[in-house]
Amino acid sequence: MDFKLTSDQESLVSAIDKIAQGFAAKPTDFHGFSLVSEAFERELEEGGYFDVATIPEFGHLGAAMVVERLARLPFTAEVALSLLVRSNLPGEWPRPLAVVERGRPGRFVATAKTILIIDGDAIRVLEPTRTQVERVESIFAYPMGRLASDANGTLLSRGEAATVRQWLRVALAAEASGLLEATVACVVDHITQRKQFGRPLGTFQALRHRMAECAVLAGGVKWLALKAAATADPADAALAAFHAQEAATRVVYDAHQMLAAMGMTLEHSLHLWTYRLKALISEQGGRGGQAAAVAQECFGGRVLV
């Protein structure tokens, strides 16, 4: 047990932070939901960062660190599935990846080269044609898309599907961890600056305590996500995803309460993180789905659902 970063991990994190610097601010004229950048994608691609998990010095733990750090940015890209799920698929599949659950619109579906179609217990993998996908407008702060209902794909075995589900949970938790950290930082900044009744909002105990609790939840998600990536244990993955969705539900609400009307504007960046978190809250069966996974993996599977 050693929580100090290795020199390889420090180098990786430092390189990612350097890339992140160029995308750390929302363009002032951007007043939308889905903030993407070809340059951001290109830098990550050219640096080989989408393959971090396959490099022994980094592995899935290094990949989770990358996902967590990049998720803090106002810009988004399909990072989590490429880094944490792709290497756990049977065979070679091109990125970007997307997930379609129960036929609903999903993140990055319109641009994905590989789509995981989840329908009940079954998971199929598909390389979609351009006519099978379409963009949809969405309040969620990701580029959202829809897959044609007749699209099929290669059916994964039960074991392969279980592995994919496990790494989808790790990916969700790692991404949520970065989003939560950015959300908390954003709120702390706001309530430090914003004054009411003659003093900063952050001096009022009612808000201080709520933010402190949010910070504890957010940090817990980070530790659980990193552990789940490191151990590759399905129980850790289920716990991480559950805690991520649980924390996100609470933190998103509190963050918007503290920013009040300012947090409702598209001028402010808050929605870029909170509406990504809301998208993640809705995935993989939500907390009920993760709870069933925790019951299965941690409590011995004797579940009566």
Partner: protein, 379 residues
């Protein structure tokens, strides 16, 4: 970063488990596990003596005091296993966590010689005389006075309250006011047999003999009963509490009790949707608390100064205790009505998790200011 235990750590954990399997009585779980009961205190002296003889009471202490200079992980693995078993060391966990180390840091040679060896042999109980009727979270407002007498001794008058283990304790780690103001508080090491000390047990929901009132009526102690310098109590207490806050792996017992409750529900065919979600919530909270605590221990092992993250770990632990406690109340209430003494013991410990060693709300204030960097509240 590595989340796996090395071979030495695994071996040590196995050694502790073997010890517990060998030395816990077969009816251990049937006893009421109030940590301050007369039975528990007597048992702890026998059990801690056996731990000491096996080199498992204070392995993290310096060799001079009976330890082997083991690292912070060793101490924490030991504590995890003890708490998971229901803490058979009773109140003596406090001795090895912070009383001994505080004496090593601030005590005179004579104080160390007098007090540390009995702790290292596992034969003594201490109590912590901090809280008073008018001084709980606001510890600086304490009123118990220690006044110098014409013979150069100190005469102590006042009242402490919520004092754990007081009726069984041999010595009190006492805070008393020697002059006015925040820097006018000093620490005294007071034998509980000193004339003028009266202990009254307070009946409570957390078990027999756990909390007390302690009255000091012209209690005279020699000048060398003072630990550190006059007025140094704040610094000493902060150092002691920082060890205490992450020294108790409450999540270990909470996790075990959660699994125990779930197994009961599964056997009864009652582990259904509502219970499943609450159990997942509690299990995740326990794991988060575990990892937060590990992060602190890792910093301690690497010699890194620990700041407000100790409060973060503490609050995460309080949340975990609460989640497990509430799970049992909601889904397995019969456990608290004679059904399972261990689950009752957990419940009683869980409800004080956010109160003992500094209220959870004080931790939230520390997190807000020192961890998040929010501006301070006006006073």
């Amino acid at each position: 970063m590595d989340f796996t235990w090395d071979n030495e750590q695994r071996r040590f954990r196995a050694t502790v488990r073997d010890f517990l399997a060998t030395h816990l009585p077969h009816d251990w779980e049937a006893h009421a596990h109030g940590p301050g009961t007369a039975w528990q205190s007597a048992f702890s002296k026998r059990f801690c003596g056996q731990l000491a003889a096996s080199g498992l009471l204070v392995p993290h202490w310096p060799a001079r005091w009976g330890g082997r200079d083991a690292d912070a992980w060793t101490a924490f693995i030991l504590a995890e296993e003890m708490w998971e078993a229901g803490e058979p060391r009773g109140g003596q966990y406090m001795n090895v966590n912070w009383i001994g180390p505080t004496l090593m840091r601030f005590g005179t040679e004579a104080q160390q010689e007098a007090y540390i060896p009995p702790i290292a042999r596992g034969e003594t109980i201490w109590c912590q005389g901090f809280s008073e009727p008018e001084a709980g979270s606001d510890l600086a407002s304490l009123r118990t006075r220690a006044e110098k007498t014409s013979e150069g001794r100190y005469s102590i008058n006042g009242q402490k309250i919520w004092t754990s283990y007081a009726s069984q304790a041999d010595t009190c780690f006492l805070l008393a006011r020697t002059s006015a103001g925040r820097n006018g508080i000093s620490v005294f090491l007071v034998p509980m047999s000193t004339p003028g000390i009266i202990v009254r047990s307070i009946p409570s929901v957390i078990g027999e003999g756990d909390i007390h009132e302690v009255f000091f009526d012209n209690v005279e102690v020699p000048a060398d009963a003072m630990l550190g310098a006059e007025g140094q109590a704040w610094e000493i207490a902060r150092a002691a509490l920082s060890m205490e806050r992450v020294g108790i792996p409450r999540f270990a017992f909470a996790t075990r009790m959660l699994h125990r409750a779930v197994e009961s529900l599964q056997r009864a065919g009652r582990f259904e949707q509502g219970a499943i979600e609450q159990a997942a919530r509690a299990r995740a909270a326990c794991e988060a608390a575990r990892l937060y605590s590990y992060a602190i221990i890792d910093k301690r092992r690497h010699g890194v100064t620990i700041g407000a993250e100790a409060s973060v770990a503490r609050f995460a632990t309080v949340a975990a205790e609460r989640a497990v406690g509430e799970f049992v109340v909601e889904f397995l209430p019969e456990a608290l009505s004679g059904g399972d003494p261990m689950l009752l013991a957990h419940h009683q410990r869980a409800i004080v998790a956010g109160i003992a060693s500094g209220a959870a709300e004080i931790q939230l204030n520390l997190i807000a200011t020192e961890f998040l960097g929010l501006p301070r509240e006006p006073r």
